[in-house]
């Protein structure tokens, strides 16, 4: 089906359904075939049938969400995903999917919530820290920027300083924060973090992308001054 060989897929499913009549797995494949053909109504009906017999069939639930997404029905997809997560709270991929859909809908607070759940469940995965920081940065405002900086920092820690986005993130946050706090009494001097991040970036660019080193150096310099 992935190769658009719907005819071959149909034949395979035919053979399987003869061999395993009434099988849920084959039922799912049949429904998937409808999806591949773009026959959304039939696919939905097929999954509904599967779910009637097996209300906890995770794959069927997820396919329903996928259909909504494929049709561009984002609010329906969000609705289904939320219901799914009520049943299957530990499904990290589902939380990530929900976060991404929220981000695409510019619902950043809701996306942040999803990443918070993920960080709580798996605190040592840097991807979640990074994604959370990016959403907070996008939300903006002093508090969010300060928190974003913390999560960029934790990403740096979890990745041994190798994550370029996190290093840049610290610099971006610092620059944005200093813009917002211009003229106010600066809090504890955390400039060590951003100068270390800047140093790490320059070192890395010098080594692996020397043609861009001057450009990065210029930008970092401007950020420190702002």
């Amino acid at each position: 089906m992935d190769c658009q060989r719907v005819d071959v897929a149909k034949d395979c499913i035919g053979v399987l359904s003869k061999q395993f009549p009434g099988s849920t797995r084959v039922g799912r494949l049949e429904a998937l075939l409808f999806e591949a053909k773009g026959d959304w109504a039939e696919a939905e009906r097929a999954y509904a049938l599967i779910l009637e017999n097996n209300p906890f069939d995770q794959i069927a639930h997820k396919r329903k969400i996928a259909i909504a997404k494929a049709q561009g029905d984002m609010s329906v997809a969000v609705d289904y995903l939320n219901k799914y997560l009520e049943l299957f709270m530990a499904d990290h991929d589902a939380w990530r999917e929900l976060a991404e859909i929220y981000v695409s809908l510019q619902m950043y607070k809701q996306a942040a919530f999803c990443y918070e759940e993920l960080i709580l469940a798996q605190p040592t995965i840097p991807l979640y820290h990074l994604a959370y920081a990016e959403v907070l940065y996008t939300l903006g405002g002093l508090e969010n920027l300060q928190t974003a900086k913390k999560y960029y920092a934790s990403t740096i820690q979890l990745t041994g300083g190798k994550n370029t986005r996190a290093l840049f993130g610290v610099c971006l946050c610092s620059a944005a924060i200093s813009q917002l706090t211009k003229g106010r009494n600066k809090e504890e001097d955390s400039s060590e973090l951003q100068s270390l991040a800047a140093e790490a970036l320059l070192k890395d660019y010098k080594q692996r992308s020397p043609s861009k080193e001057a450009l990065i150096a210029g930008m970092l310099k401007n950020m420190k001054l702002s």
Binding site: E134, G140, R208, M219
Partner: protein, 207 residues
């Protein structure tokens, strides 16, 4: 008041944005347009000379950090050559989605503050299919420009903005690049941030 303005898109810019979309067929992609206003021309012409691909990852594309970083670096890089960021391009993930998404409007608004004739180009996936098959001479992008009510309007609906391809054989060249699978080599900012040895300028891509 539709400010009459023509947008002339050079082959390099056009091909890069199309290749970017082709490299990531199941995701939305976006990027910046680089160029300048040709003041000698009347009515005004914005010459789009290059495109810098930005994102294809859904957890980075609509968010600010990649965009802000890229805007700064792209501006800094091109300013000495007399070019600036003059627009934004976007390609939707779904084949039949022809709506200009909110993120495109937001970025467009931001660029508009610095370049009042900013253009937003939305890739038409179905037109792109036709061009690849060699069936079409039409541009695969739809031009949007900002009207006086601060909303992004499709060009052509009131005749006030116009998009032209600078080189008439652009679509043929694009189809050619597709057959040689050139889209595999294009680098965007997401790729660069994952591996900084990859160059978002794509200097040797189009030869």
């Amino acid at each position: 008041m539709g400010v009459e303005c023509r947008y002339e898109v050079a082959q390099a810019a056009y091909v890069k944005l199309a290749l970017h979309a082709l490299k990531h067929p199941t995701a939305a992609v976006n990027g910046l347009l680089v160029g300048r206003l040709l003041d000698s021309a009347s009515p005004a012409v914005v010459s789009v000379v290059d495109a810098v691909p930005l994102s294809h990852q859904p957890h980075h594309l609509p968010l600010l950090p990649t965009l802000e970083l890229a805007l700064t670096l792209v501006e800094d890089h091109f300013a000495p050559q007399g070019f600036a960021v003059v627009g934004y391009y976007h390609a939707n993930a779904r084949r039949d989605d022809t709506d200009l998404p909110a993120v495109a409007k937001r970025v467009g608004d931001h660029i508009f503050r610095y370049f009042p004739r900013a253009a937003v180009l939305l890739l038409d996936n179905q037109k792109l299919e036709k061009v690849i098959k060699g069936d079409s001479r039409d541009p695969v992008v739809q031009l949007y420009s900002r009207d006086s009510s601060k909303s992004w309007r499709q060009a052509g609906s009131d005749g006030s903005s116009q998009l032209t391809l600078k080189e008439p054989s652009t679509n043929v060249v694009l189809a050619d690049h597709v057959t040689t699978k050139k889209w595999q080599q294009i680098i965007d900012f997401d790729d660069h941030l994952d591996d900084i040895s990859k160059d978002w300028l794509n200097p040797s891509l189009l030869g």
